[in-house]
């Protein structure tokens, strides 16, 4: 049999590996050898970006601004004034919501002055009793889905209140309540524009791709430079991060509207506005609402990260607790964030899946049933709070607001648990830890760092060529070239090594677990539910238990990476295997396959393209987690991004490093997508 003809790609691949190792062997490591490392031609770029940003902020388009405190006109840069105004309005909105939820004077101050508030003791906005927020969320859950969701929402809010995390939780919520709607509106707007105009779509798409593979951290630096530090900066960074998925899903939803429905709208005489608002958007409702769900999830994922630039709330406290290694407290806070995330996720999904009801023939009271319920709740909870003020006359009114850290705490329990584990398991865990680091991680890291740049290029571009021809080779080469020309090639290699290790382990676990669970429909549903739940956890949360067990080492980061990125690998495996058409399964059964043969010869080949897309997700997830792992202490790109955060001139470095990470992700993404698309075409799945 002629193998060259039967498996041309395999032969090409083996040939490629031979060249790769030959180059590795031949090229000697020396700083001057261009085949070993490319000169860092882009070393000056960060400085240029810094200067440009500074010029924009301080010197470009000077305008005269009246300063009321100094009572004179001053020169100020246009951009600075714009961002300052923008910051103020965002801050005002956040504080307004915060005042409603927690009470306060800041909104009143905004319209009057501090002196006025000091003189008038009555001028304080009262907080909503926590019981009202809790029962309101329950009511919402009931209206959207039913008793189950109502109970769960009630449990979550009561938990948060009882554990004394009400105030930080509401602070977090207040900034989600600003960031999420803004992101949704922006996303909807850009999605509609991209739908209407091909040029907008073509320019937006690559930007979206980069935006979705840039690590969270790298958004923080530019935001900090232009908008400063504080709650508003956190909200703005969140908005920037959360808008891309909304744009994507809006565009997808609009494109999925059947052409006939659009034609029907036109034939009924709709003008463009009517067509958009009465036909297209309502028909694409579900996709758009899924977009809103995504936005909310991204907002909560940013809740912790945004606290790096001063967003208050649960994330900030969590960060403090982690820095002080108060694991017990961190765990409690983590659970609060997870609960908020899961509740908001379930609520928004229930909204997306809820079908419109007919209510035009109902009476006024029936139509506004839930509004009346809420009013009743409002009166009732205020009454409760008033009663509470009599009962708890001396101390804290537990029926009105439970102040921070005045609830029940289980910190001591967790802390002693951690101490116990450290005492009893220390040697076992440390033994595993040391063995892993010495036997596996160090050699692997050395191998990655020992690769000449020319060999890496040959390998990756060769892969590109085998998979997608010259175009793919050039695309991948372009991404790599950018990284190679910066001064962080070695850092990128370390990121690549950690990601690779994480991905390999995740894929092995994910595909195995997925394949086993896909055997029966009950286990499939169960594992998908588990994946759904774990996926709503903000990525940062995964770091807490691993620090608890392994302390501050590379192992912790890698385990967090593995746990986090196993989710997509498992999910896509289950989905891929379960979606093999029933007719093919039946054909297999009638040919008399056994279980193993079914899996190997029927299910796997058909599910493989889908599983590859899962692996693609795994790579992106792993990459994100490796970067976030910088918090624990790694020496890869993430660490440098973190450093850029505390650097006054960090914007250039931060952006370039962010692009480096994004390009690693995009190169892998390109390769896998090209391959999976081809494969699907061959299998007739598209």
């Amino acid at each position: 049999m002629n193998y060259l003809e039967k498996y041309p790609k395999l032969i090409q691949f083996i040939f490629l590996l031979v060249i790769f190792f030959t180059i590795c062997f031949l090229v000697s490591p020396s700083e001057t050898n261009i085949l070993w490392r490319l000169p860092s031609l882009f070393a000056g770029v960060p400085l240029i970006i810094n200067n440009f940003a500074e010029y924009l902020m301080y010197d470009w388009m000077l305008i005269e601004i009246y300063d009321p405190e100094l009572e004179e006109y001053e020169d100020s840069a246009l951009v600075k004034e714009i961002t300052r105004g923008f910051s103020r309005s965002v801050l005002f909105c956040i504080e307004f919501i915060r005042d409603i939820l927690l009470g306060g004077v800041k909104t009143i101050v905004a319209f009057t002055s501090w002196d006025f508030v000091k003189e008038n003791q009555w001028a304080v906005w009262p907080a909503l009793p926590w019981t009202l927020v809790a029962s309101g969320v329950m009511l919402l859950g009931y209206a959207l889905k039913g008793k189950g969701l109502a109970l769960f929402a009630g449990f979550a809010t009561v938990y948060i209140a009882v554990f004394g995390q009400w105030e930080p939780a509401m602070e977090t919520l207040s900034f989600v309540l600003i960031a999420a709607p803004t992101s949704c509106l922006l996303g909807l707007l850009f999605g509609v524009l991209a739908y209407k105009n091909k040029t907008v779509e073509a320019t937006l798409m690559p930007l979206l791709n980069i935006a979705q593979t840039m690590p969270h951290f790298s958004y923080l630096v530019p935001v900090m430079v232009f908008f400063g530090v504080g709650d508003h900066a956190g909200a703005i960074a969140t908005i920037i991060f959360a808008t891309p998925p909304m744009i994507r899903l809006t565009l997808l939803g609009l494109k999925r509207v059947a052409p006939e429905v659009v034609e029907a709208g036109m034939m009924n005489g709709c003008n463009n506005t009517q067509l958009m608002f009465k036909v297209l958007i309502p028909t694409a409702r579900r996709d758009i609402l899924i977009g809103i769900n995504q936005v909310i999830m991204q907002c909560l994922a940013m809740a912790v990260i945004a606290s790096f630039i001063g967003a208050k709330g649960l994330g900030f406290n969590l960060l403090l607790a982690l820095n002080q290694l108060r694991i017990g407290q961190a765990l409690e806070l983590g659970i609060c964030i997870v609960l908020i995330a899961v509740v908001l996720d379930k609520l928004s999904l229930a909204w997306a899946n809820k079908q419109t009801d007919y209510f035009a023939d109902l009476s006024f009271i029936q139509k506004h049933k839930y509004g009346f319920y809420f009013l009743a709740l409002l009166l009732f909870t205020i009454l409760c709070a008033y009663l509470g003020s009599i009962i708890f006359a001396d101390g804290i009114n537990y029926l009105y607001l439970i102040p921070h850290n005045r609830g029940i705490t289980t910190e001591l329990f967790w802390q002693s648990g951690v101490d116990w584990m450290v005492d009893n398991w220390y040697h076992g865990l440390q033994g595993f830890n040391t063995a892993l680091i010495v036997k596996v991680l160090m050699p692997m890291k050395a191998a990655f760092l020992g690769m000449p740049v020319s060999a890496t290029f040959v390998l990756m571009m060769g892969l590109g060529y085998i998979i997608g021809g010259t175009k793919s080779a050039l695309t991948v080469g372009g991404f790599l070239l950018f990284i190679a020309l910066t001064e962080w090639w070695d850092r990128a290699l370390i990121t690549a090594y950690m990601t690779t290790f994480g991905v390999i382990v995740s894929v092995i676990i994910g595909v195995t677990v997925g394949s086993l669970c896909a055997q029966t429909s009950f286990t499939s549903k169960a594992i998908l539910l588990v994946c759904d739940t774990f996926q709503t956890f903000p990525s940062f949360i995964y770091l807490i238990p691993v620090i608890m067990l392994f302390g501050v080492t590379d192992t912790s980061v890698l385990i967090a990476v593995i746990v986090y990125s196993t989710i997509p690998a498992t999910r896509y495996t289950v989905e891929g295997l379960r979606n093999v058409p029933q007719s093919l399964q039946d054909a297999g059964s009638m040919s008399g396959v056994n279980r193993m043969q079914r899996w190997l010869k029927i299910e796997m080949p058909l599910a493989f393209p889908h599983i590859m897309l899962g692996i693609n997700q795994t790579v992106i997830f792993a990459l994100f987690m490796v970067i976030i792992g910088a918090m624990i202490g790694t020496d890869d790109l993430g660490q440098y991004i973190l450093k850029a955060l505390s650097d006054k001139n960090g914007i250039g470095n931060g952006l370039m490093l962010g692009l480096c990470v994004a390009f690693i992700g995009l190169a892998v993404d390109h390769l896998i997508h090209t391959w999976a698309d081809q494969r699907k075409l061959i299998l007739g799945l598209k």
């Binding site: 029907a264 005489g269 003008n271 309502p282 419109t356 035009a360």
Partner: protein, 356 residues
Amino acid sequence: MISQSKSIPMDQPVIKCVSVCKIFGENANKLLKQSNGVIDAKTFQDAGCVVGVNNASFEVHKGEMLVVMGLSGSGKSTLLRCISRLADTTAGDIFIDGQDLLAMSPKQLIELRRNKMGMVFQNFALLPHKTVLENIAFPLQVKGYSTENSIKRAVEMVELVGLNGRENYFPRELSGGQQQRVGIARSLAVEPDIWFLDEPFSALDPLIRKEMQDEFLRLQGVLNKTILFVTHDFNEALRLADRIAIMKDGVIEQLDTPANIVLKPATEYVRKFTKEVPREKVLKIESVMDPVDKITDFSFLKVSKNAIIETVAEAILTEQKKVAVVDDDGAVIGSIHSSKIIQILFGHSDSFEQSK
């Protein structure tokens, strides 16, 4: 609107197409200029273009139903989309009531669609977030009617298509046939003069399809619209049409009455369709009768010229003498003998055509 349609002379066609061409592809216009308007599908295909409609010219008069028949990819839906201006026409002219459709501004076009045109779609194209009533009221609301007035009119339409009791259902709660009834009601809500139907019954089960065709004929009997009906089902075309246009690869192969198409197929392609068609189920007595013969003494039976052969065949076969064929007023206009019926029922189709 009524006074306007009265002022139009009766011989003015409602829809008039002159050499309409639709070519898909980026450099369609350039190619068309080079070829001087003569379209050869092959050369266009080589240049990366697809010819959707090739040089279609015809007229549809008031109250007439033209059925455009063709297999998938024949360009029939594209032709319909050109005439409703959902697709841009590459070359040629289209006149609606004498007005140049292609020269209309977007504003005029919206006005035209709001007042004169109604369209029914293959996959119903109902708005999923609106109820039956709201869907039917939609074109009226778009036009600016108040909710009250539009719903009032929609209720009338619900009655017309026989969906009483389901006014507040959502499309997802209806069967295919019911959904298409909503589609029909919606397209008729603004009382259009011109009614476009794009394979309206193709997505339905055969039994429901038959029922909907009957319903459609009943509606047309009441409303008497000018209709352009697209279908891939030859039998459906024969059943419904005043005239049929058969399309292949964008070209209209033959445009004629159902009887003429069955009896005198113009091309080999059309003949293929007509071969399997049972003539007695399609043809009217009129199309096979003999001219009046003065000497003949007729039997007592008289048949209408509009009767489908199948429906009267048994009666004619029991008669020994020739049977008189009468028109709507009862005047004798022709005759038919049982031997002819036997020939039609059992004879070889080709020999039958030759004997004609």
